[in-house]
């Protein structure tokens, strides 16, 4: 075995090691560069004003550019009385604090619990009408493919919000999303209990928890 052969074999071995590393990195590239954003098609309007609940007035006219649609969405929230600032908060992934919000809709519909809510129904957006069964497990919502409800549009953050179970009641928590999560038109800042049949809006998609 000549020295030259050994040197070539050594270089080949090192090259193989690095090739393996780059294959792994290439395969997990969505972790590095984020999930791909799916542009809304021009022909298909993102939302319809017929969505139940207040504040879903983000009806985008066909052919509108995303900026105009975002402006329309912001205008819609302002009209709904939400105190949402237009400036997006910094997307730092800090650990959210767990402040139980004061019960807002005490006089409204009953709170959703694992006993009385059995499904999550999309009420507006491209997949309007579809639903997902609710179990006793928490759900996550976001653009990331790890999420339980994956919403691939321009307004949703990678990890946008999550539905948790406190005791046996469903609670929604906003995960520092850029464009916010709105429960019945009010921006969710701290974990808050979800009443049954009440609209939760994320970007151009709204959904409700139903029996």
């Amino acid at each position: 075995m000549s020295e030259l052969t050994l040197l070539i074999l050594q270089l080949a071995f090192l090259a193989l090691l690095w090739v393996f590393i780059f294959i792994v990195v290439y395969a997990m590239r969505s972790d590095l560069f984020g999930q791909r954003v799916r542009k809304l098609k021009d022909g298909a309007p993102a939302t319809a004003g017929a969505g139940a609940g207040a504040g879903a007035g983000a009806a985008a006219s066909p052919g509108a550019n995303p900026a105009a649609m975002a402006a329309a969405a912001a205008a819609g929230t302002a009209a709904a009385g939400g105190a949402a600032p237009a400036a997006p908060p910094p997307p730092a992934p800090k650990v959210p604090t767990f402040v139980p919000a004061p019960g807002t809709e005490l006089s409204g519909p009953p709170r959703a619990t694992t006993a009385n809510a059995s499904r999550l129904v999309i009420t507006s957006g491209t997949k309007s009408g579809s639903e997902i069964p609710l179990g006793t497990e928490p759900l996550t919502i976001g653009r990331s493919s790890d999420s339980s409800v994956v919403i691939r549009d321009d307004y949703t953050s990678t990890h946008h919000a999550r539905l948790m179970i406190w005791g046996d009641e469903w609670v929604i928590q906003d995960l520092d999303s850029t464009n916010g999560t709105f429960l019945d038109g009010n921006r969710v800042t701290a974990p808050v209990h979800i009443p049954l049949n009440t609209t939760i809006r994320i970007g151009a998609t709204s959904f409700e928890l139903r029996r």
């Binding site: 074999l9 590393i21 294959i23 395969a27 298909a44 800090k94 767990f98 957006g125 309007s128 997902i132």
Partner: protein, 467 residues
């Protein structure tokens, strides 16, 4: 979408057909096929490494040894892969290949040191390492078969604490405890010796995760603000002080600096992740540094470690008994390796004492050079990044904390060992995960692999809806 009007009509309808519109994007075996592809490459690299060792050190290939060392590990990890196909279809596809590659390179390197020291048969460390790997992978398969949901572990929070305490105390028992190189961290039963502290770190991670999930509100919400940081109340300092006392007693009674640092660092990071308060890190690092400085003044062996680290190239210290000879030889080995290394089987890593266990990273650095060393570090980085990624994507807080804890133990252990060998921090005896010769470390790290795979399967295995 056939028409917008239809969609609106559906939304307004009182009860749409259950399950309509749910698109199952879960393609069951896609991740596993990627894993199989990566595993085939890994097995080839591992066999290639053993062949290179034989060419370099012996001048010819010996088929029998290649089959024992190369095929042994390959069969085992493929077995684990098949088990995953049945019980954890959506588990992360990168963790198993990376762990298998590190383990295989470790076996090749240990085999290379065996050749230099003329060890064969059951005397050979490499053969024992393969046997331990077999045992470790078998235990990992059992873990993944038995634990179908990681939340089961939360029920055993305090049992885990008890198990960790017993494992930590075992080496102190007079009958089975054993002192090797001054550290009393081994137990000896029959022909086997085992380091129970390695397995204790998993039990501790389970305990910390379960405990912090239930107690983190009181640890994070209250306290007074000093210099822009909110410090906890005095009465909430109990847990961190108990852990500090535990680490200090490990330093004093078991004379093991590395393990103490590992446990305390694990707790500090998990409490930081659970509460989001930087003050815990400030408190923890301050407490540990104070303890280490006092230990350095009082305990002779700690003081020696500091002297060896700060003044390694002083001839007196180099020649002293228990001096910096090993550390400096390791550095000479790394320097000898240069950019691309001397070539597998062609360096002299065996000059350094314990070249197959504590100093395996120096041996690899000598024979594979800077390029190989960085490849190893990149593999660790990818492994740990996957662990953090899995915990980040998790739904339940216990699983998230457990994932962070388990991957952080691997990260911290790498830092303590590799930092010690390369003279970044004082040298302390810990094993390099997956690489170093040592059964207890292999078993513990393969259990971590199994738990991370289980966590990642749970994360992906849930009702999904894609919009």
């Amino acid at each position: 979408m056939s028409g917008n009007a239809a969609a609106i009509a559906e939304a307004g309808a009182p009860a749409p057909t259950p399950g309509r519109g749910i698109r199952r994007i879960r393609v069951p075996q896609k991740l596993r096929n990627l894993e199989l592809f990566l595993l085939v490459i890994v097995c080839a690299v591992n066999a290639f490494a053993v062949v290179l060792v034989q060419f370099g050190a012996l001048g010819a290939a010996d088929i029998g040894t290649i089959i024992t060392l190369g095929a042994g590990l390959s069969v085992l990890v493929i077995g684990m892969h098949i088990a995953l196909r049945f019980v954890a279809t959506n588990a992360d596809p990168f963790i198993l290949p990376i762990a298998a590659l590190l383990n295989g390179i470790g076996i090749a390197m240990i085999y290379r040191i065996d050749i230099a020291e003329n060890l064969t048969g059951w005397e050979s460390t490499a053969v024992r390492q393969v046997v331990w790997t077999g045992l470790a992978v078998a235990i990992a398969i059992i873990v993944i078969l038995v634990i179908r949901n990681h939340r089961v572990l939360q029920r055993y929070t305090y049992v885990a604490m008890l198990v960790a305490a017993i494992l930590l105390l075992l080496p102190m028992l007079p009958g089975i405890g054993q002192e090797i190189y001054g550290a009393r961290v081994w137990i000896h039963i029959g022909a086997f010796s085992f380091q129970p502290g390695e397995v204790a770190k998993i039990a501790l991670a389970v305990f910390f995760a379960g405990y912090l999930v239930s107690r983190r509100d009181s640890l994070s919400m209250v306290g007074r603000t000093v210099l822009g940081m909110r410090f906890p109340r005095a009465r909430d300092l109990g847990p961190i002080l108990v852990l500090w006392a535990l680490s200090m007693s490990i330093i004093i009674f078991q004379r093991d600096l590395g393990t103490a640092l590992l446990y305390f660092g694990l707790f500090v990071v998990m409490i930081y992740v659970a509460t989001g308060r930087a003050s815990w890190v400030v408190l923890g690092v301050g407490l540990f540094l104070a303890g280490a400085v006092i230990a350095g003044q009082v305990l002779v062996y700690v003081n020696d470690r500091f002297t060896n680290w700060l003044d390694a190239f002083n001839p007196d210290i180099y020649n002293a008994d228990g001096g910096s000879y090993q550390l400096v030889q390791g550095l000479f080995g790394l320097a000898n390796g240069g950019l691309i290394g001397t070539g597998l089987g062609q360096g002299r890593p065996d000059i350094t004492p314990l070249a197959q266990s504590d100093y395996i990273i120096a041996s690899i650095g000598e024979e594979l050079g800077l390029a190989g060393m960085f490849a190893i570090l990149a593999l660790y980085l990818l492994f740990i990044a996957r662990g953090f990624r899995i915990s980040f994507a998790g739904q339940d807080d216990f699983g998230r904390l457990l994932g962070v804890g388990l991957s952080f133990t691997v990260a911290l252990q790498c830092f303590i060992v590799i930092g010690g060998v390369t003279r970044v921090i004082p040298l302390t005896g810990l094993t390099t995960p997956f690489l170093a010769a040592g059964g207890s470390s292999l078993v513990a790290n393969w259990i971590i692999v199994a738990l991370l795979l289980r966590l990642s399967d749970t994360v992906r295995n849930q009702p999904r809806l894609v919009i």
